[in-house]
Subunit: 208 residues, 2 copies
């Protein structure tokens, strides 16, 4: 299991600093959608330059122009780009094509997908690497992702699974039995007083 | 009917230049998703500063964190932000809340929405200003938007309608009978030898 740190509410300088603090405990740095909306590819470029041993995912949430938009992120240094699992197959194929050119990977965010098992299988057949069960920030108060994670794990296997949305050092205990390849933590690290300690605790649980 | 120029494949300097060329014929400048992925809010900021009489829409295609992400775009000078119509109501409400604070507007992109009429009505009830029938770039070869436009126009009225995807000086003749409030043209202007002439032709058809 890999630990992915999601950075959503900071600027590029703060991102570089936070990654420095938790570097030893994380595997992947996510430049979140709000950061991309504000700063574009600048944080992707700088984090991937300064931390060449970390994978960087650009959470582009691509809905259209799959190859063109994924190209932008891969050219900026991303190792992984995200697409919305709900979008057109042609868009998914375009992002996969861009990933192949760049020797990168594609993560499909399953937000708003209703038939999870069926779509997960289709997406893997289209060449998607990771299927991300994602409880949207805006609905975390009312939705839990664990039943969805179980479904996706059964349909495409643990090694294709990623999980995001409200994961922290408590809720992670509901996640590890499914052994998802990628566990995405944002506020569970960035919102903690001592980020390094929080990241290490979560990393230790994942690698226990 | 308003003419919206969609800018997707240029950089900020080129955007400023193109807007200058077609200024007299267009009402709204769209900073497209690929530009936002590459440059963040820089083009939104610069175009809205340099052309204060034009409305600027940031095509953020928001899927989550509605208020937070819409705030970013409105704070950068956008008059309108886009959300995905398919996403959670909570996210739509967040974007609408941000719009109210900023005295801005919200456009919902209906890409991948299956029950167009029903969702259009729901979105308007949630406070969305415009319902955009959008044929994705990646499927323009196989899908036509005019039947969808007719449905949305019947359900929420012309003044709520926007249309995007492959509109040019020929296909626009299939659009005008529905009198959508916003007609979005990208390559139909930016891909033409003389952009000013192309924009004027389309504007003349809209205002005939």
């Amino acid at each position: 299991m890999k630990l992915q740190l999601a950075l959503d509410t900071c600027n590029t300088e703060e991102a570089l600093q936070i990654v420095g603090e938790v570097e030893n405990s994380i595997d992947i740095v996510e430049i979140g959608t709000p950061m991309i909306i504000e700063y574009g590819m600048e944080p992707v470029r700088k984090v991937s330059e300064q931390y060449p041993n970390k994978l960087v995912i650009a959470d582009t949430k691509i809905m259209d122009a799959g190859e063109f938009e994924a190209d932008i992120a891969f050219n900026a240094g991303a190792s992984i780009v995200s697409v919305m699992g709900i979008t057109h197959d042609e868009t998914i194929k375009g992002a996969v094509k861009a990933a192949k050119k760049a020797n990168g990977k594609v993560l499909a965010d399953m937000m708003c997908v209703t038939n999870l098992e069926k779509r997960a299988i289709e997406l893997v057949e289209l060449g998607v690497d990771y299927i991300c069960v994602h409880t949207a920030h805006d609905v975390q108060a009312t939705q839990s992702p664990f039943a969805s994670l179980a479904k996706v794990q059964r349909s495409v296997g643990s090694e294709r699974c990623a999980i995001a949305g409200g994961i922290n050092e408590e809720s992670i205990n509901n996640v590890i039995e499914f052994k998802p390849e990628i566990v995405i933590v944002g506020n569970g690290i960035t919102g903690q007083k001592n980020k390094a300690v929080a990241a290490k605790k979560i990393s230790d649980i994942l690698h226990d």
